[in-house]
Symmetry: C2
Subunit: 446 residues, 2 copies
């Protein structure tokens, strides 16, 4: 991890102290950016990438150099997908207003979306960002349960509103956890025993529930990303989350599934991450990939919860569910289906994982390869016996790959896992490029 | 105000108990909408408007009937303005990604935007919605002052995140105010003495500061909309907000100006509402009109505050400042300048106010006409002697005008003020349509 001048650490952050090493034009733009946007804004990589355009799985800089995008889940059907672009272009010239007028598109989209969930999860409220959706889900959970206590995983990231940030331990010590927020260590299929990992996770949740009770706080929700991506990715065995879900339910709290990362078919085995586990959340938070980059997000949930919320307050989000964002979101669902991208994620993801496991035979530093579909983590360790995380190696590899024009990042508490999360139209040939670049990068930096 | 089935009151809300009175097709769509989006969503008017397209100051329903838009400040340069549409169409096919890569557009836009502020307010952080911007401003204020206390006006609305909602008394008793939120009655130029109104407002702020101190709470901020639109609109005399701003400063708190309503030249006399008063906020919240409907919002502020925030935490908003929203926002600034819309707001607003004052000679129920530029309130009272608010008359007039295809709404604690807030390319001929429709509506309903 690099330390930003004066700020808390962030994985794969550009270090402004090294500004002088960059090309003149890049330095100038970064200086302007810092002057007008301030120090909270961070850039990726030792040498930030200056982008001009994008298409499919490719990003292009100002000189026309292309970079393979192995990191961005937002453009889930590919950057500037022609059908999404056409949908936005049509709608933006026709109507873009809010939900206090009747419009067909938002209703049509809401119906299409909830049809991808089980019958119990039949309503959706639309926001603009995942942070707003997390914030709304927490409001609904606290209001409908009458409880305040929220349990999250140890390195979770759930967003940037005050309520989301105070439930996001990955933001670091500078952002205190809320007084009614408790953390539990996330499951870790590399270090835990997979056979007992789920029960152990549930026991940790149970302990926090007990601690809440001891403090006179009723639990409102257990909230986690169903692939635990910020905690380092944990996807197998399917079903391991069920005991923890049962524990929060037994305590009168809700299970909120954060699907911002695994959602929209990325895992290859299901449209939603919780479906891989045959779990049934009370509330589901959707975000990033929903509109392929157009701001749209939402909360899907049980009507009884939304009804209870509605007896207390109305909900209006001026841009939430606007027709332009809905047009993009509808096109995303169309493309996912017509281009069979879930199947593609499964096929290409399996091919890429196999290639990475092959690579692990050559490099002792690769401790583990795990994931599902096109969400894969490759964990670097000092050695396999100790399993000691090696965040420095991950950082070196990320930057070596960037020099080879392959854009990737790292994740996990120790920043030692490569986070492989490309747009879903990623093909076998692109997987081969990743494998080649990774092998070359490892040979360079080890 | 209509009561939504089981829910809290909202001005000008459609009453679902009257669903059976609507055309069959409208009923069907509303039923689908309720089934899939739930009861928190509300519609405007006794007979909701079902929209298909929009252009300039006109909205069109599915039958092609056109409605004059006298209410929406979001499409500030007009619905589907060709330059905004062209900018979005170009950028959405080129690149739409986040701020951890370098892109020119977000920096170019940020510089253009802050150039409309005084030199001290030289930085901006970008979000997607005004709610997110309010939430961020409160985080920054609380972190940099070390205080928790926030003072807002009695019927303020600031947004829907947990932190914004608990500082939004207009959401009603179902949404409790935060433990560190206090309200003060907003200035009321109709009932207060304009000469002493500012000092009296400051005295109320001072009293809450003292009460905070008595409870051991340090004040973080005084937050208000600089035209007090949810409180019923109060724009004159310029300068009346200054004593209250001085009071919060003296107590170590910040002044946060909510410019979601008055911002982007609407008042005709300044780009920003606080500039009308020659006030200098610490933080300024921008929202709705910023991207003419594309989701973009932000916080403008003093660099020292943003620097202090950055020592504690990074800030990343995936869709915040995305290139497509920035392209729209840049086009908005271009159109405001090239079509001289601030001047137009001043000219047409003055014409419309004069016409409304004329109308007040015929109708004793019009107690007051006030505002600036194209933000005007017309207040209905039982009689001028008592100044008793007449929310029922306002509601009848809003719906009578809707039947005449003029879309407007009401505001204020008693819902008795017409809220006249059209897109800024509103012309004299449109003002005449409003005056005619209002006269006819008043003759019908009184």
């Amino acid at each position: 991890m690099n330390e930003h001048a004066g700020g808390p650490p962030m994985i794969n952050a550009f270090d402004v102290a090294k500004l002088g090493l960059l090309p003149e034009a890049t330095q100038a733009l970064i200086r302007r950016r810092q002057r007008v946007m301030g120090a909270s804004y961070r850039l990726f990589y030792e040498e930030p990438v200056h982008l001009d355009r994008a298409e499919g799985v490719w990003l292009f800089d100002l000189e026309g150099t292309r970079y393979l995008d192995v990191y961005n889940n937002v453009p889930c059907v590919g950057h500037c997908h022609p059908r999404v672009v056409a949908a936005v272009r049509e709608q933006v010239g026709r109507l873009n207003t809010h939900t206090r007028y009747l419009t067909d598109l938002v209703v049509d989209y809401a119906e299409r979306l909830v049809a991808t969930f089980s019958a119990g999860l039949s309503q959706v409220m639309l926001t603009c960002t995942g942070s707003e959706a997390i914030d709304l889900a927490l409001r609904i959970a606290r209001l409908t349960t009458g409880g305040l206590g929220v349990i999250v995983t140890g390195n979770a990231y759930h967003g940037v509103t005050a309520a989301a940030a105070e439930a996001s331990p990955s933001l670091g010590a500078g952002v205190p956890l809320g007084p009614y927020v408790r953390t539990v260590r996330a499951p870790d299929s590399y270090r835990d025993n997979p056979a007992t990992m789920g029960e152990e996770f549930a026991a940790r949740v149970q302990a926090e529930i007990a601690d809440f009770r001891r403090h006179g706080v009723a639990p409102a929700a257990l909230l986690f990303d169903t692939v635990f991506s910020s905690d380092g990715l944990c996807t197998h065995p399917p079903g391991f989350i069920l005991p923890a879900v049962a524990a929060i339910r037994a305590a009168g709290g809700l299970f909120i599934a954060d699907e911002v990362q695994p959602g929209f078919a990325r895992t290859g085995s299901a449209m939603w991450g919780f479906q891989r586990h045959r779990a049934e959340p009370d509330l589901v938070v959707l975000g990033k990939p929903m509109g392929n980059g157009m701001p749209v997000a939402g909360v899907v949930g049980r009507p009884a919860l939304f009804d209870e919320f509605a007896t207390r307050t109305r909900y209006f989000n001026t841009f939430g569910g606007n027709p332009v964002s809905c047009a993009a979101a509808m096109a995303v669902l169309d493309v996912l289906r017509d281009e069979a991208l879930m199947q593609n994620a499964a096929t290409v993801g399996a091919y890429l994982r196999a290639g990475l496991i092959d690579l692990a035979r050559r490099f002792e530093q690769i401790g583990d390869v795990r994931g599902d579909g096109l969400f894969i983590a490759l964990e670097f360790v000092r050695d396999r016996a100790s399993q000691t995380p090696d965040g420095r190696l991950a950082s070196s590899v990320v930057n070596a790959m960037r020099r080879r024009h392959v854009l990737i990042s790292a994740s996990g508490i120790h920043g030692n896992s490569l986070k492989i999360r490309p747009p879903l139209p990623f093909a076998i040939e692109h997987a081969d490029l990743v494998l080649d670049a990774l092998a070359a990068s490892l040979e360079e930096v080890i």
